[in-house]
């Protein structure tokens, strides 16, 4: 009987030790929560499918982190959001990790007959773009301003909260055209046609990433960012159509 008691005690201790070990290992390997711009969805999932992600417009994610959302890492499609949080002491120093370009997409059926961005000016078209506060929405307006096409904003039928919503509406044929990142057109290439935006009209689309200051998992978060910056991470981004960080990036 006493022997059975020893065995039971040993089992209980072993289970307790295993559970304690799992708890201490969790911050290193699990439960890393990454808040990332919607445009990074495919690239980040391909790089590391095991993580917990929250993909949305960078502006919305910035607001959530300000309000104390439990993020460990924040990856933004614009330096503005990460730098705002850095100045507020809410994230560690951000680093640039990739870049992107804008494109105009039209449904494969192309009912409005859009062949060039300039066609938006002359043809009746239902245009969908992202809201001004969303990075891709701001970049869209920069493109139109550079090309002298701000007047086409009068043809906008819907303003969306993130780039995936813009992509979805065009892919489903609910709009004749929409401005998205080149990388967002790839996953729906069987549903949309890409209309190129000239290089001289492209905005500087630079992505930054930072460890969230209140993260309880900073070691793992920093390691994840190192992986993203290393060959494996950069290859995943390149495979999704992203560009290397600009030469002038900090």
């Amino acid at each position: 009987m006493r022997r059975l008691g020893y065995i039971l005690t040993a089992i209980v201790l072993a289970v307790a030790a295993a559970l304690a070990g799992a708890e201490s290992a969790r911050p290193q390997q699990g439960q890393l929560t990454i808040y990332a711009a919607a445009s990074l969805t495919e690239a980040f999932r391909a790089l590391d499918p095991s993580r917990q992600y929250n993909f949305a417009g960078s502006n919305a994610l910035e607001t959530q982190i300000r309000q104390g959302a439990p993020a460990d890492i924040f990856a933004s499609a614009t330096p503005a959001s990460t730098q705002n949080l850095f100045r507020a002491g809410l994230v560690e120093k951000p680093v640039t990790f990739t870049a992107n370009r804008l494109a105009l997409i039209v449904p494969k059926s192309n009912p409005a007959g859009i062949r060039s961005v300039y066609d938006l000016r002359t043809k009746p078209v239902k245009l969908v773009i992202a809201s001004q506060g969303v990075p891709v929405g701001g970049y869209t307006r920069t493109v139109l301003r550079k090309m002298g096409l701000l007047s086409v904003l009068g043809k906008v039928v819907s303003e969306e909260s993130d780039v995936k919503a813009v992509t979805g509406k065009v892919a489903l044929g609910q709009a004749d055209a929409g401005f998205v990142y080149v990388t967002d057109a790839r996953p729906v290439s069987d549903q949309v046609t890409v209309v190129r935006i000239p290089a001289w009209a492209q905005p500087q689309v630079r992505y930054e990433i930072a460890v969230v200051a209140r993260s309880t998992n900073k070691t793992a978060a920093r390691q994840w960012i190192r992986t993203l910056l290393a060959t494996r991470g950069q290859t995943a981004l390149r495979n999704a159509g992203f560009l290397p960080p600009p030469k002038t990036a900090p």
Partner: protein, 184 residues
């Protein structure tokens, strides 16, 4: 003509045209295209010089073309920044030169001609359509300079230095398409 009425002023030791009035959206679009393409043309002249393809007076003329492209870029960048826009920088682009462009005079001059004629055509349209006198002065002077450069590049290419009696004014879309492959 006075500096005040036309917005022409001295800057950087050269005469740079600078519109005094607020630029329109169309003028800024031409300025954006021009500023980026002048960076491209500057890169072209730099590479042609490094490759030592052109000697003597032709080489000196092309070196002067590089200086002109720099000054044009500054003038257009000023127009953009005065309007609250961001001027393009060389680092914003990955210029793409076809293989063999700078191994011989003919392909190099052909590339340069393509860029110069696109800029000339765009500046002609900008000059013709700009609603303000000061902008017309700027784009006309840019067109005149590009006409000279076109002539020099034509000579380098082995063509007549005086080409069309009436060089084509190009819509921005057409001019942009002509240089898109170089801008990357």
């Amino acid at each position: 003509m006075t500096a005040t009425s036309t917005g022409v002023g001295l800057a950087g030791g050269g005469l740079l045209a600078r519109p005094a009035a607020a630029a329109t959206d169309d003028e800024l679009a031409f300025a954006n295209f021009g500023a980026a393409t002048e960076l491209l043309l500057r890169d072209f002249y730099g590479r042609a010089g490094t490759a030592k393809l052109f000697a003597g007076s032709l080489g000196k003329a092309l070196a002067r073309g590089r200086f002109a492209a720099t000054e044009h870029g500054v003038a257009l960048a000023t127009l953009l920044t005065d309007a609250g826009q961001t001027a393009p920088l060389e680092d914003d682009f990955e210029f793409a030169w076809p293989a063999g462009t700078f191994v011989a005079r003919k392909p190099a001059a052909t590339a340069g001609l393509t860029i110069a004629e696109a800029l000339l055509g765009a500046y002609l349209t900008a000059a013709a359509t700009s609603p303000t006198a000061s902008s017309r002065v700027l784009f006309s002077s840019l067109a005149a300079s590009l006409g000279e450069q076109r002539s020099t590049l034509a000579l380098a290419r082995g063509r007549l230095t005086i080409g069309n009696s009436f060089p084509a004014a190009l819509e921005l879309e057409t001019a942009s398409a002509a240089v898109e492959s170089f801008l990357g």
